[in-house]
């Protein structure tokens, strides 16, 4: 009973994440990669993503505070962020990154700052969502794993 409810909760929550556009099918793929040999794969990758993103966001903030802004560097950072967000399927972050890079190309400081704000915002959103998703699943990771295997095609 408990398990079924948990499963239900997890699936609902995840579906809502898809619907709100936080995640895309890449996240599904990611989950597919997880199996017995690699049970913590998703959590591992997601935490890597958090780590990396936070670093990049800090770097970006610092770079934009400079007197003379090095757009190339900012672009490289945003590219990184875009890559990792697309890898885990955080598509809203990814989209903002695309806009960010455009501003970068135009060397538009204000646009960049605005985008940075947005990226931060999206990032913290997706982080919260993912964390809560994992909290849903953490207590019963094994079960969830099997469930997700069963449910997924």
């Amino acid at each position: 009973m408990d398990l079924v409810q948990l499963q239900r909760q997890f699936v609902d929550y995840r579906t809502s994440l898809y619907h709100e556009g936080f995640l895309d099918e890449q996240f599904t793929q990611l989950q597919e990669l997880q199996d017995e040999n690699n049970p913590d794969f998703v959590v591992e990758v997601v935490s890597l993503f958090f780590e990396d993103s936070e670093r990049l966001l800090n770097e970006l903030a610092r770079a934009l505070e400079q007197q003379s802004i090095d757009y190339k560097r900012i672009d490289a950072h945003v590219h990184q962020l875009k890559g990792s967000s697309s890898s885990i399927g955080a598509q809203r972050v990814q989209k903002v990154c695309i806009a960010f890079r455009n501003y970068c190309e135009e060397q538009n400081v204000e646009g960049c700052l605005k985008c940075l704000q947005q990226v931060r915002h999206e990032y913290s959103l997706v982080k919260t969502k993912l964390e809560s998703l994992f909290q849903v699943r953490l207590p019963c990771r094994r079960e969830i794993f099997f469930l997700s295997k069963m449910v997924l095609p």
């Binding site: 099918e25 990396d52 890898s87």
Partner: protein, 1003 residues
């Protein structure tokens, strides 16, 4: 041009030349002068009218000239004749005059009297046809009048027959021809005309003529000829006076000119045509008519004058001839001219018509050309549109399908689930369709290129079959594949496209077949004619024919017993094929060497089904895109009908051709040939390794008995078992198998004892004693040997009840569901025999990722990406398929790891990286490798050991799959690309190229 032409408007020759040039020079001239064409025609007609008039005139003038010539010659002839006759008469009168002077004056007494004269003249009248009569008048002076009158006994009378008045002299007629006897005693001097005549005659001494007057007797117009007669001989050149003195009398004759000329003309031809007038023109102002009518009718326009000389220099005469009728209209000339005009008119019109036609055709041609260009443009636009739209549709479709998949994950009511599943199926169908349309567009644009890589044909066929196994099993249709042993294991070609062809054909067959079987058969197209002589019956008993009739229903010797459209696929032919192979089995080693001499191998693939067939009317448009048998087909069976057209294109691209035989309600057989390259021996032996890995070798040498009543099916089963290296025998029924086993068991011991007995469900069920004999079989085995053979049931579909029954009957071991695939059979046998469970069959065996797993398993792969997360994900994905993954976070790190010699099998390279991007890194790696290869080739010892060169497959990982990026990838030495994030299918396609075909020599 137009101006120039205008100038030469009235010059026919120029015009003609121009027109001819116009027709010859072709469209430019005609086209440029199209507005002038009617004017040309008009001009032509006018010129021709002018010409024909001219011709008419010329001919007419010719005619007139000729007419004139004829007239003048006729006239001259008449004049000459008249003159001749006249002078003959005159001469005779002259002779008469001499006669008179001789016999009347020189003789004394006179020898001539009236009587003699009359008789003589009458008798010589024929000599003077022109003279109506002659008379002689004596000169009598007044002093001698009385003497003369007395002597003759009559008085001299005047012309009016009165006694003559007194004159100086008289000229009374004393002799006369009888015709003119009425003038005897008349004084000739009394007549004005005669007197003048007489005076002139005696003065000149020659014949003289009067002007014409009406003659006394006949009242015809006539002239009188007078000739002087002299008494004494004249001196040689006498004077006028001397002549007058010497004159004795006058001889006169009357010329009746009218009857004379009439007579004369009557003798001549053309009398009717011409009108003749004779005039005395002595007085030039007043022409006196001698003959003919004064009031002229006849043709006044044309006349001819001829001079007449009657011997009297004082008188002048003339003959005038005219045509009786006016010159007749010259019909010849008129007709000629008219015909000429008509012909020219027609010619002109034809030329005009031709020109108009040319103009029209050219206009049409230009229009067509324009339309063609537009159509081509439309076609290009269509292709572009298709490509774009297909691509654009695919993106949202992926979203839809993904969402549907997620939706199906959620808790749904059964109805909702049904709806969602339907939507998903439809979506998938749509994606397939779009892919097909894209393919078709690509083929049409000629952009489809085939690759040439070695591949295993059999495993592809197995894959395709497994794709349709679910569907066919649900329908209860048997699906089977048979590949001739002579088909090489590995061939060079495009496996993807080959798979597509087979998938299309089999998919079609599955779609349209409700019962019976679908049978894919592959053999060499240059297969020699099956040998007739030794029919190697591989049956344990010889009587394979006895199930031709089973339970009254006609059974065909096909896979399932249903009739097939093409008999070639039936057992009769397959038997030969199999037999042939059996016979050649020993010689196959030798054969192989010979076979490999040729570079290519032509395969004949046929896909036979027992479906609804293709209606005869639809058979000729089967390969046309978007054409199905009829519109109801797509309603009943779905599909767009594009598949077969793509298949045809692909087959033709692969150098073969496709054909089919179909009988409605019986089935269809599609056959096609393809040309594949042969693999070289070296790579052949190399590729043997992964292939053998694919199919476990643990069954080599095992013996199996296949119990199946249908020889074709048995052959198929044997084909799969043989691939596993097993020795196979056939048995027609369980009973026979049992007895054979028993016999074998007792006679030869366990050596020939079968390890496995595979029983076809049909054979098991059909035999009433099936269960019993099986037990017997089982018991016998148990009795004689330690290890009993494993009993396996082969079935296409099986109900639970049957399954229970089977288990009860002794098939405890397992049931293999058809379609058979070597790998699946292997898995089942492993399970049954419990041999070598090195590889995990189960789940991995059954879904698609098993292939990827087998490809990547144990491979060492380097992932180069600067992004930590990406790296981790890529590594995770590859690890999932059993690869050993190592990571590098930059191009430099990768270079370091790939220093030769290294042990990596492949490298996945991110393109966009700081410091050194993927392209640069790849370039450097390739440089390193080529250096190493050169060194290696330099040292022959090493080179001879190594078969391959250093070339690590490098695959780009990129998020954008723009074509340009792909080109760039290839340019810098990469082998392919995978789109990020990884998709299984995508990854498989990229990786398959290298790991199947390129066994890594240094791993």
């Amino acid at each position: 041009m137009g101006l120039k032409l205008q100038q030469s408007y009235h010059h026919s020759v120029t015009l003609k030349v121009n027109e001819q040039m116009g027709t010859k020079r072709g469209y430019t001239f005609i086209q440029a002068n199209r507005a002038w064409l009617p004017k040309f025609l008009l001009l032509w007609v006018m010129v021709m009218a002018f010409l024909s008039t001219w011709i008419y005139k010329k001919m007419d003038a010719d005619n007139k000239v000729r007419r004139k010539e004829v007239l003048s010659s006729m006239c001259d002839q008449r004049a000459r004749m008249l003159q001749d006759q006249f002078s003959v008469s005159v001469n005779h009168v002259h002779a008469l005059a001499i006669l008179v002077s001789t016999f009347h004056y020189y003789k004394d007494p006179s020898a001539i009297d009236q009587e003699t004269f009359a008789e003589y003249t009458a008798r010589t009248a024929f000599e003077r046809p022109l003279l109506s009569g002659v008379a002689y008048a004596e000169r009598v002076v007044h002093s001698e009048r009385e003497k003369f009158e007395r002597q003759h006994g009559w008085t001299i009378k005047t012309m009016k027959r009165e006694p003559s008045p007194i004159r100086d002299e008289y000229a009374p007629v004393i002799f006369s021809q009888e015709t003119v006897s009425y003038i005897e005693s008349l004084d000739m001097m009394s007549g004005e005309e005669d007197r003048e005549n007489i005076l002139r005659a005696r003065a000149t001494g020659k014949a003289v003529l009067t002007s014409p007057f009406r003659l006394l007797g006949s009242h015809h117009l006539g002239v009188v000829l007078t000739f002087p007669v002299y008494k004494s001989k004249l001196p040689p050149s006498p004077t006028e006076q001397e002549r007058i003195e010497a004159t004795a009398g006058y001889l006169g004759g009357a010329f009746d000119v009218e009857s004379l000329v009439e007579n004369l003309l009557g003798q001549l031809a053309g009398n009717q045509a011409i009108l003749v007038n004779v005039y005395d023109i002595t007085n030039s102002s007043d022409h006196l008519i001698m003959y003919g009518h004064q009031n002229q009718d006849g043709d006044l326009a044309l006349l001819h004058e001829s001079k007449l000389d009657f011997g009297d220099p004082f008188r002048k005469h003339q003959m005038i001839c005219r045509y009786h009728q006016k010159a007749p209209t010259s019909w010849t000339a008129l007709t000629t001219a008219f015909l000429f005009f008509v012909i020219c008119l027609l010619v002109g019109y034809i030329l005009y018509g031709a020109a108009i036609h040319i103009v029209k055709v050219e206009d049409d041609f230009h229009e067509m050309e324009e339309l063609k260009v537009r159509a081509e443009a439309a076609d290009v636009a269509k292709s572009q549109f298709l490509a774009t739209v297909s691509h654009e549709i695919r993106t949202p479709m992926n979203g839809i399908l993904g969402m549907l998949a997620l939706l199906l994950d959620t808790d749904l009511s059964s109805t909702q689930r049904d709806y969602a599943q339907t939507a998903q199926v439809c979506g998938k169908a749509l994606i397939t369709l779009i892919n097909e349309v894209l393919d078709r567009a690509k083929i049409e644009a000629g952009k489809l290129e085939l690759e040439t890589v070695p591949f295993d044909l059999r495993s592809i066929l197995d894959d395709v079959l497994s794709l349709f196994s679910e569907k066919s099993r649900n329908k209860g249709v048997e699906l089977a594949v048979f590949v001739s042993d002579k088909v090489p294991e590995m061939v060079m070609g495009d496996p993807g496209r080959f798979r597509q062809i087979i998938t299309n054909l089999v998919g079609n067959s599955v779609k349209f077949t409700e019962r019976g079987h679908i049978f894919v058969k592959v053999h060499l197209a240059e297969n020699p004619k099956p040998m007739e002589g030794p029919k190697a019956e591989t049956y344990l008993n010889g009587g394979s024919d006895e199930d031709a009739l089973v339970s009254g229903a006609r059974q065909f010797k096909t896979l399932s017993g249903y009739e097939a459209a093409d008999e070639r696929n039936s057992w009769d032919s397959l038997k030969h094929l199999v037999a042939d192979e059996e016979l050649r089995y020993d010689a196959s080693v030798k054969m192989k060497a010979a076979d490999e001499a040729s570079q290519s191998v032509t395969l004949m693939v046929s896909v036979e089904d027992t479906g609804i067939g293709i209606p005869l009317i639809a058979q000729d448009r089967v390969f046309m895109p978007f054409m199905q048998a009829d519109s109801s087909t797509s309603r009943n069976y779905g599909g767009t009908g594009i598949g077969l057209s793509i298949t045809k294109c692909l087959v033709e691209l692969m150098g073969g051709h496709i054909s089919f035989i179909s009988r409605p309600q019986v089935g269809s057989t599609f056959s096609f040939t393809t040309v594949f390259g042969r693999c070289k021996r070296a790579s052949f032996s190399d590729t043997k390794k992964p292939n053998a890995e694919d199919l476990p070798s643990g069954f080599r040498g095992l013996k199996a008995v296949v119990v199946d009543g249908k020889p074709v099916r048995a052959a198929v089963t044997r084909y799969h078992l043989k691939r596993l290296g097993m020795l196979v025998e056939f048995a027609n029924s369980v009973k026979i198998a049992a007895s054979a086993c028993g016999k074998n068991g007792s006679s030869c011991g366990s050596k020939t004892q079968p390890d496995i007995v595979l029983v076809e469900k049909d054979s098991w069920l059909s035999g009433e004693d099936g269960g019993l004999s099986l037990r017997t079989l089982d018991r016998q085995q148990n009795g004689h040997v330690l290890k009993s053979p494993k009993m396996i049931l082969l079935a296409t579909n099986i109900t639970n009840a049957e399954l229970e029954k089977a288990k009860a009957a002794g098939f405890a071991d397992t049931t293999i569901m058809k379609p058979l695939r070597a790998s699946m059979v292997a898995a089942c046998l492993q399970q049954v025999l419990g041999t070598g469970k090195k590889r995990q069959p189960g789940r991995g065996m059954l879904n698609g990722s098993s292939v990827l797993g087998s490809l990547l398993c144990g491979k060492k792969i380097l992932v180069v990406d600067d992004n930590m997360v990406n790296r981790r994900v890529a590594a995770g994905a590859l690890k999932k398929f059993g690869a050993a993954v190592e990571c590098a976070e930059s191009g430099k790190a990768a270079l370091k790891l790939l220093q030769l010699p290294h042990s990596f099998d492949a490298c996945f390279m991110d393109i966009q990286m700081p410091e050194m991007d993927g392209f640069e890194a790849t370039r450097r790696i390739r440089m390193m490798e080529s250096q190493a290869n050169e060194q290696m080739n330099g040292g022959t010892e090493e080179g001879s050991i190594r078969t391959g060169e250093w070339h690590i497959p490098i695959l780009a990982m990129t998020a954008d799959v723009i074509h340009a990026t792909y080109d760039e990838c290839l340019k810098c030495g990469m082998d392919g690309y995978v789109s990020k994030p990884f998709e299984e299918e995508n990854l498989y396609l990229a990786v398959a190229k290298f790991f199947k075909t390129k066994p890594i020599s240094d791993s």
